[in-house]
């Protein structure tokens, strides 16, 4: 599968301008015949909106229609899968969501899946849960590549979330993100970017999954989104990565067989499946199993 990860700075609150940037990316990629194009978290509006999220959130059918129209305007003769982060208005409940969309089909856009961010950072510079409602399910869905899951930004920082996705069969994890860069004493990059890469590489290698990451770039009120768009093989090797600041496209090729080979070489996921009942059903884990239980 030919995939492209797009790193750019959205114009704050200007959905039309950001769809135009998407169109530019689609047009530039047309000759490569991509099968999957991934845009970052909140790519239709920018990340920090505070109360502006209530003015700018879109419903899923509108997002699907507008991205599909954008794809068709750039590449009229082919279909493609597109992932993009956006703020979702679900009948007055607001989410930080990512859509997996089939664009350019004769019958119109097909929404394959919408993931609603589950871990809403609300600390330090982040204030998501003040304005948004968290998603309740981490789903795995079928794509041309096979079983796939999306995790938005902090979702991927929780080892349990990537583990659940892998246990549910995911072979590809797509991570749209918006990460304000911090830490200026790294050797070659921001410490926050180094941290991201170590987390993504660990998830890929432990579960034998491809992990692709698309990050916003550009400054939002002094907070510099740290780009760092990258991809890891199922062995945990870095396939390609972008710097923090440039508007760019990272092109990668995903090979389904690589997943099987990685899992055959280091069968950690198979081992986990075998041991999972002992870990998961341990009554000492503080998880509410019935309504009458204390969590």
């Amino acid at each position: 599968m030919n995939a492209a990860l797009v790193q750019f700075k959205p114009r704050k609150g200007d959905v039309d301008a950001n769809l135009a940037a998407m169109r530019d990316a689609f047009a530039q990629l047309a000759g490569d015949q991509p099968e999957l194009v991934v845009f970052p978290e909140a790519s239709l509006t920018g990340y920090f909106l505070e109360g502006g999220v209530y003015e700018l959130a879109l419903n899923v059918p509108d997002v699907a229609r507008r991205i599909d129209e954008t794809w068709r305007a750039a590449v009229p003769d082919r279909a493609c899968d597109v992932v993009a982060g956006f703020y979702e208005n679900a009948d007055g409940t607001f989410h930080n969501s990512a859509i997996y969309l089939r664009c350019g089909e004769p019958g119109g856009p097909r929404v394959v899946h919408v993931h609603r961010k589950m871990f809403l950072p609300t600390y330090g510079v982040f204030d998501e849960e003040r304005f948004l409602t968290r998603g309740r399910r981490l789903s795995v869905f079928e794509t041309a590549f096979g079983k796939t899951a999306m995790l938005i930004c902090e979702d991927a920082w929780h080892a349990l979330a990537t583990t659940v996705a892998a246990l549910k069969g995911a072979r590809l994890l797509i991570v749209p993100s918006a990460s304000p860069g911090r830490g200026l004493c790294g050797e070659n990059e921001l410490e926050s970017n180094t941290r991201w890469k170590s987390i993504l590489a660990a998830a890929a290698a432990e579960h034998g999954v491809y992990v692709v990451y698309a990050g916003l770039t550009g400054f939002e009120g002094g907070k510099g989104m740290s780009g760092g768009t990258c991809a890891f093989s199922p062995r945990g090797d870095l396939l390609a990565s972008a710097g923090p600041l440039e508007r760019c496209i990272v092109k990668i090729r995903l090979d389904e067989e690589e997943v099987d080979l990685a899992r055959a070489t280091i069968p950690l996921l198979g081992d986990l499946n075998a041991v999972l009942p002992d870990l998961w059903l341990d009554p000492e884990i503080p998880v509410m199993r019935r309504l009458e239980d204390d969590a």
Partner: protein, 283 residues
């Protein structure tokens, strides 16, 4: 018996080290983004005091926008040290940026004639606020954006005049401690006479920052960093810091939170600005 080799971990203290090349690139990108992309303003204007903070900001602006787009305004009062003027000129010459001198003596003294009881502190605040007024007027004259030069240490210690030094809408060094400012300035080649001289607000003769603050910047920065990370005084002292200095720094931070905020507004509705009605600065 062969003794075990021992590896004894020291008490951890988070580092203030920066990678100056990475830092410069990040701050230059910030300036280009804030000025050109967000505001479509290609020119910056800086109050150049002859000290290291404004010199560093001039270097960053010249690198980000080109020296032809940077205006340095020197604003001496009659009691300002002559070396402040000459040090500022060194920076102007080294960078090839525009330089201009606007004396504030007449304006300041014109007001002080009506305030004969003003002590040194009040006079210093009048000078600082006069410089703010001049900087903003000069920015309007040149369609240039005023750039802030306050560092994190002085912001945390409250060592600045409210609604004067802190007024420019964009500040590239406000999250850098003073010792990090020194490191970045050396890397960018700020002249030694600017980097090496004792920092001074130059509001009174023989004034130095460290004399005013009662603690060196090197110590203050390490203590401030630990305070910001949530360490209690006892834990900071356990890392080798002087208890009196820890108390002094803590007192300055806790006594100046108001200086780092907009004015306090009485909340009487559920649409109060910045309380209920929340929009980011770049919205």
């Amino acid at each position: 018996m062969t003794a075990f080799a021992v590896v004894d971990a020291p008490l951890d203290e988070p580092s203030l080290r920066i990678n100056p090349a990475l830092t410069a690139a990040w701050l230059e990108a910030f300036l280009r983004d804030e000025l050109i992309e967000r505001r479509a303003i290609g020119r910056a204007i800086i109050g150049l005091s002859g000290g290291i903070d404004s010199a560093l900001v001039a270097y960053l602006c010249a690198r980000a926008l080109g020296p032809e787009n940077v205006y340095a305004i020197r604003m001496p009062y009659k009691s300002s040290s002559p070396s402040s003027l000459s040090d500022a000129q060194c920076v102007i010459d080294a960078l090839g940026i525009h330089g201009e001198t606007v004396e504030i003596t007449d304006a300041v003294d014109g007001y002080l004639k009506h305030a004969p009881d003003a002590d040194a502190r009040r006079k210093g605040n009048v000078m600082a606020r006069m410089r703010m007024l001049v900087l903003f007027d000069q920015s309007a004259r040149r369609d240039a954006l005023p750039i802030g030069t306050g560092n994190k240490t002085e912001r945390l210690m409250g060592y600045f005049t409210w609604h004067a030094d802190d007024t420019p809408p964009v500040n590239p060094i406000g999250d850098l401690f003073k010792t990090q400012v020194w490191a970045l300035a050396r890397f960018l080649g700020v002249p030694n006479e600017v980097v090496d001289k004792p920092p001074s607000a130059d509001l009174e003769a023989n004034q130095t920052d460290e004399g005013d603050l009662g603690v060196t910047y090197a110590n203050a920065d390490r203590i401030l960093n630990l305070i910001l990370l949530g360490y209690r005084d006892a834990a900071i002292v356990a890392r080798g810091h002087d208890p009196d200095e820890v108390r002094l720094v803590r007192r300055r931070v806790d006594g100046t939170h108001w200086k780092r905020h907009l004015p306090t507004t009485a909340l009487v509705s559920s649409t109060a600005i910045n309380e209920f009605y929340l929009r980011p600065v770049d919205y």
